[in-house]
């Protein structure tokens, strides 16, 4: 079966690819679509229809919505979700899954581990998550990365005047995602990441691909 992955940017694409590899998911042909969150939401029903013929794994940030299940219900608009359509909603952004691997994140980006908060339980979520005072990607690059001893990471990741991310955000994160990020360790601190792995593995066990 063909696989289409849908995500919001290059960094989340790399996260999806790592997770797919972690789950040893096999497929015939891989297509990748990167769209802003709003556009993914607009196309949600179309992806659901497309999933009749192929496996679609979608990764969306929860952002300001209260909880993943409410957001999913809203997006489905009373339609039934196709079983080949695996919707994953990161709490609150996929970047929080990266920092959920606290020890490796701290070591790789050379930031003191005490600057990285512990995962905790939020009233809206089932399990624990990395929770930040505001949008996790922004909190990481504005409040945590500036403590890095590596000035190059600070330059690449810290957003300047009005920018939402650093000038080389993807370049800085990609090697970490591809080579360092320990998914087993990150899962301990993120129920939403755990849920995604579980969803893919469950689908895999039900379906014979190829």
């Amino acid at each position: 079966m063909n696989l289409t992955i849908i995500c919001e940017d290059s960094a989340t694409k790399e996260i999806l690819l790592r997770v797919i590899n972690f789950c040893s998911l096999s497929y015939e042909k891989l297509s990748q679509t990167e769209l802003r969150g709003g556009k993914i939401k607009n196309n949600f029903q179309k992806y659901n229809l497309l999933a009749k013929n192929e496996l679609i794994i979608l990764l969306l940030d929860l952002d300001t919505a209260d909880c993943p299940s409410t957001l999913l219900k809203t997006l489905l608009q009373r339609n039934v979700k196709n079983e080949n359509f695996l919707v994953n909603i990161a709490v609150d952004e996929a970047e929080s899954w990266l920092i959920a691997d606290r020890e490796n994140f701290s070591q790789y980006f050379e930031v003191p581990i005490e600057k990285i908060p512990f995962a905790e339980k939020n009233i809206f979520q089932k399990g624990i998550e990395m929770l930040f005072p505001y949008k996790s990607s922004l909190y990481i690059i504005r409040e945590i990365i500036p403590h890095s001893k590596n000035k190059e990471f600070v330059r690449q990741l810290f957003p300047k005047n009005g920018a939402k991310k650093g000038p080389e955000y993807n370049k800085a994160l990609t090697p970490f995602i591809q080579n360092i990020w320990d998914i087993n360790n990150a899962m301990k601190n993120s129920e939403s990441l755990h849920g995604m792995i579980h969803r893919i593995e469950k689908w895999e066990s039900k379906n014979t691909i190829l």
Partner: protein, 396 residues
């Protein structure tokens, strides 16, 4: 050293411009808003300093067809043209150098020909904290003939501010037109001329040492491997007539691939190679006209980060990239900051164009605060207000 600030007076469609430029600058505006004219002010400085035949008269008359083609149509009483440039390193609070040139049109009465006459030429050095040059007030022996030439263009007279000369001389403009690159005939026509649209791009490669060429081609091949996967082993060669060519293996043509030259390369591939060559080779100000043309959206999205990465490499201290663009996808990169984007807006009141850094546009700042991206905040103000009516025009 980069161009940190540019002030223009009566330059083409700009009556007054005063903008700061970043190491990476995006110039955005509707069609015919003057993006190329804006870049042309910087090219003008390069033309003055061009080796073998450059100079003020060359830049004004030979390249641009005279003052009448340069001067802003809405120029009124003060019809002089002025360009003022601040140069310095990226993080300098104060410019290392200021260069100012003001000129107007004069007619040689006996010969009946027009020429550009210098009204003022000034050079400020931060190191010495004074104006090193103030023409014509503080120079001796000036007459109608001397005021046809800048001190900047003369090696003897620009000795104390040679840094400015070097910086201007190395400014590069790139707008590779694939159709011209493909035509060998144009090479012979443009060989001796400054032709940034075609064959000289290959000639520039030809002039590099074998070692440099090899290094650059290795890097270009690395990028092409990702951007044009069926394309392999890009090389450079000269044919029997000494005409330079690019050659690469296309894997999808035959089982083992088949060699093709630039004549068969796609438009996008040629433009991408031209772009890569320019940014990898240069350590100067590069002016790039709409690099998104012919490129796939996935490549365009990567360009801002790719350029940022190159600008921050060792040995690229003097490199600056000024890019004109219409591309939503290029500007949609979340790492672009407000100081890096200049917006060109036609002003109905002044009958001229304003150039505004978007950090000073309240509407854009409000949109960003509301969560929109720079592309979303910029493309609407830069678009044409009534373009939808295009489909209502009765053509037949």
């Amino acid at each position: 050293m980069i161009i940190k600030r540019l002030i223009l007076h009566n330059w083409k469609n700009f009556q007054e411009v005063d903008v700061d430029l970043s190491k990476r600058t995006f110039v955005v505006g509707a069609n015919a808003s003057g993006k190329s004219n804006f870049l042309d002010a910087i090219r003008f400085l390069r033309d003055i300093c061009k080796q073998n035949g450059g100079g003020l008269q060359y830049a004004v008359n030979t390249v641009r067809g005279g003052i009448g083609k340069i001067r802003c149509l809405s120029a009124k009483k003060d019809s002089n043209i002025r360009i003022e440039v601040y140069l310095g390193n990226e993080d300098d609070k104060h410019p290392k150098w200021i260069y100012l040139l003001e000129f107007s049109q004069e007619k040689n009465k006996s010969k009946g020909i027009f020429f550009a006459k210098i009204i003022s030429e000034k050079v400020f050095s931060q190191k010495e904290n004074r104006w090193l040059l103030e023409r014509p007030e503080k120079t001796e022996g000036e007459d109608e003939e001397t005021l046809k030439f800048t001190f900047l263009e003369h090696a003897l007279q620009n000795k104390s501010f040679r840094d400015i000369y070097n910086a201007f001389q190395q400014i590069e403009y790139l707008n590779v037109v694939p159709q011209l690159v493909r035509e060998s005939v144009t090479y012979q026509l443009s060989k001796e001329k400054e032709d940034f649209y075609g064959r000289n791009f290959l000639e520039r490669i030809a002039k590099k040492s074998e070692k440099d060429k090899k290094g650059f081609f290795n890097q270009i091949n690395e990028v092409l491997k990702l951007a044009v996967p069926q394309f392999k082993d890009l090389e450079f060669e000269k044919d029997n007539n000494g005409i330079p060519h690019l050659r690469a293996k296309y894997l999808h043509w035959r089982f083992n691939g088949a060699y093709q030259t630039e004549e068969q390369f796609s438009d996008g591939t040629i433009r991408l190679i031209g772009f890569l060559w320019a940014v990898l080779d240069s350590n100067n100000t590069i002016l790039l006209e709409e690099p998104e043309i012919n490129l796939h959206i996935a490549i365009i999205k990567q360009l801002p980060e790719f350029i940022s990465n190159i600008l921050n490499r060792t040995g690229k201290n003097n490199m600056q990239v000024i890019i004109t663009t219409h591309s939503y996808d290029l500007l949609d990169h979340l790492g672009i900051n407000l100081e890096e984007v200049l917006l060109l807006e036609n002003s109905a009141e002044k009958n001229a164009t304003n150039v505004i850094c978007v950090k000073n546009i309240e509407e854009v700042k409000q949109k960003l605060e509301a969560g929109f991206t720079i592309a979303e905040a910029i493309i609407t103000p830069s678009s044409l207000k009534e373009i939808e009516k295009l489909n209502q025009i009765k053509l037949f």
